[in-house]
């Protein structure tokens, strides 16, 4: 196992599995082709969140209709984990009632703290975030958007 590079350097690829667990296909796909990026109009919910550690910045906006999230979008910049997590989140929250959305966010946060186990395949793309658990310093990247959505839904605009 390994790759030979110019200069006689050989890189050993033992860590590949860990990296593959973090950067799953689904994560990189959401990072490269983010869903629901932009601003929801009319804007009934808006909340900006920063990660002072790394300078990541995410704004969540949503349009509510009949107590449901008719449209939810994210904007900002950050690492692949924070962007993919935001993209996956918007897909998951779309169409949910505010109460349902908040319950899902709370569940995700508990899962990311390792307090409850991750669900199975029924979680869809969300399941891809499980790999982040093995990288404690990256958990905050993952939960940034979720935190913003939670606070936003609590507050409104």
């Amino acid at each position: 196992m390994g790759i030979s590079l110019p200069g006689g350097v050989t890189l050993c690829y033992l860590p590949a599995n860990m990296l593959e667990e973090l950067y799953q296909e689904i994560i990189l796909d959401h990072y490269r082709r983010p869903r629901n990026k932009g601003k929801a109009v009319p804007t009934d919910v808006a909340y900006k969140e920063y990660n002072p550690l790394c300078g990541d910045e995410i704004e969540i906006t949503a349009h509510l209709a009949d107590g449901k999230i008719a449209e939810i979008k994210f904007d900002g910049h950050g690492c692949s984990i924070s962007q993919a997590s935001a993209s996956i989140m918007t897909q998951q929250l779309q169409g949910k009632t505010v109460a349902e959305a908040r319950a899902l966010i709370e569940r995700l946060q508990l899962m990311m703290r390792g307090e409850i186990p991750f669900g199975g395949r029924e979680m869809g793309d969300l399941k891809a975030l499980e790999g982040v658990l093995k990288f404690p310093v990256r958990v905050k990247c993952c939960t940034l958007a979720w935190h913003a959505a939670y606070e936003g839904l609590k507050k409104g605009v």
Binding site: M1, G2, I3, L5, G7, V9, L11, C12, Y13, L14, P15, A16, M18, L19, E20, L22, Y23, Q24, E25, I26, I27, L28, D29, R32, L53, C54, G55, D56, E57, H77, G78, C79, S80, I81, F135, R138, C141
Partner: protein, 419 residues
């Protein structure tokens, strides 16, 4: 004549650092995060252990053998630091917990006493938050105004005429992001011409360059011990005697007083006036051992070694068209660090990738948010070197970067690992 460290010397140096001899994620550790904190040689670790195991006692008080020895070693450390930076006298070395504490001391003691509304505090765009926030605080307290020296495109200061409203220039000697070594003497001369004082943040220069505070003619200089092989919680403030003597104490407590009456107190002499409470004795002694270690090898030699490997790192990074290096491209103009970005791969993703290959780098804004805003960047990746780093390590780092390019870039589906 000053020569480079040869391979035997390098190996001997590396043997002194127990932490370097380990595997991380199954790979040999390569430690490229020295601008955040350096590793510690056995000599420093032993000096600290020795204090705790053989002569742990409080300083300047006890009338017993252990206290006498602790006091002697503590004061010896002060003398070592004074000699290391060519201070006029050891009394001008105030032990602090690090550069941040030194800046806050000058801000709350000197600046708060001397600044008036409308006075200007001149900073640069490349200051660490520790040389920014204390001045914002003092500006709010005194009505002084913050101004900044502009940057040229290559990350070098456009040395300005310093105006008559400037009362204080607070500048980093070496940027922790751009690496730029600033013309401190030139700035000191310009500041003194208008009667301003200059504080130099030596956190990123003292570990890497020979420093002579008298040649620099700086009024204050601060630094952190943990970035120069010493323990965390160690560091010092150097100040010109007439300034330190005129300044009111910063923290009140034991040690800093000569006499306390039912209603007041008189101050102790320098340097004790600024060292309230039991000081970090073990840390100061450890810092003294770090200074010994650096001087035994020689700062000129360390500097030559860092120029050599930093230039090598920059040259190899430039093999990638995707890489942008921030700051001057000549290693002679910078300290031993390189901040860069790689196309659209986020620095955090790069850092995680490197970490999985046993390579420790830093990613983020490196406590310099105003600079990153100015450069329109959210984050950069930073590799920072020290005397124990080698060309071979840089080769491995570059190989890992090539692998990261493949992993994140070539296969957008993420199934990058065809090898």
């Amino acid at each position: 004549m000053i020569t480079l460290l040869n391979n035997i010397e390098l190996e001997e140096i590396r043997d002194d650092f127990p932490v370097l001899n380990q595997h991380v994620h199954g790979q040999h550790l390569i430690y490229f995060d020295n601008a955040a904190t350096s590793q510690k040689p056995r000599q420093v670790i032993d000096a600290i252990t020795d204090y705790y195991q053989r002569y742990n006692a409080n300083v300047h008080r006890g009338i017993h053998a252990l206290a006498e020895r602790a006091t002697r070693e503590y004061e010896l450390a002060r003398q070592k630091v004074a000699r290391f930076i060519h201070a006029e006298s050891p009394e001008q070395i105030i032990f602090t917990s690090g550069a941040t504490a030194g800046i806050n001391l000058v801000a709350q003691s000197w600046a708060r006493t001397n600044l008036r509304p409308g006075d200007e505090i001149l900073l640069t765009w490349m200051e660490h938050h520790s040389n920014t926030v204390p001045w914002y605080q003092v500006a709010a307290q005194t009505g002084a105004v913050i101004t900044r020296i502009e940057l040229n495109a290559d990350g070098i200061l456009a040395v300005p005429e310093i105006g008559p409203r400037t009362k204080l220039v607070a500048v980093t000697h070496a940027s922790n992001v751009l690496g730029t070594i600033n013309p401190v003497r030139e700035l000191a001369d310009a500041a003194h011409k208008v009667g301003a004082v200059i504080l130099v943040d030596g956190a990123q220069s003292l570990p890497h360059l020979p420093i002579d505070v008298q040649a620099l003619d700086c009024d204050f200089l601060v630094f952190s011990g943990h970035k120069m092989l010493g323990p965390t919680g160690s560091g010092a403030l150097y100040g010109k005697r007439h300034l330190l003597e005129a300044m009111p104490p910063f923290l009140g407590g034991g040690e800093m007083i000569r006499e306390v009456t039912p209603t007041g107190f008189t101050c102790n002499d320098l340097p004790y006036k600024f060292e309230a409470g039991t000081p970090a004795i073990a840390e100061a002694i450890g810092l003294g051992a770090a200074v010994d270690y650096l001087q035994r090898i020689g700062m000129e030699k360390i500097r030559r070694h860092e120029i050599e490997i930093t230039q090598y790192a920059m040259d190899r990074l430039c093999e990638f068209v995707e890489v942008i290096i921030y700051g001057p491209l000549k290693a002679e103009q910078r300290s031993g660090l390189v901040a860069f970005t790689f196309s659209d791969i986020h620095p955090h993703d790069l850092a995680t990738f490197f970490d999985q290959h046993g390579i420790a780098i830093r990613a983020g804004h490196h406590c310099a948010m105003p600079l990153h805003k100015k450069l329109r960047l959210a984050a950069t990746a930073r590799a920072s070197f020290y005397l124990y780093n080698t060309r071979d390590e840089i080769d491995t780092f570059i190989a890992a970067l090539a692998a990261a390019k493949k992993f994140f870039g070539a296969c957008p589906t993420g199934r990058a690992l065809g090898f």
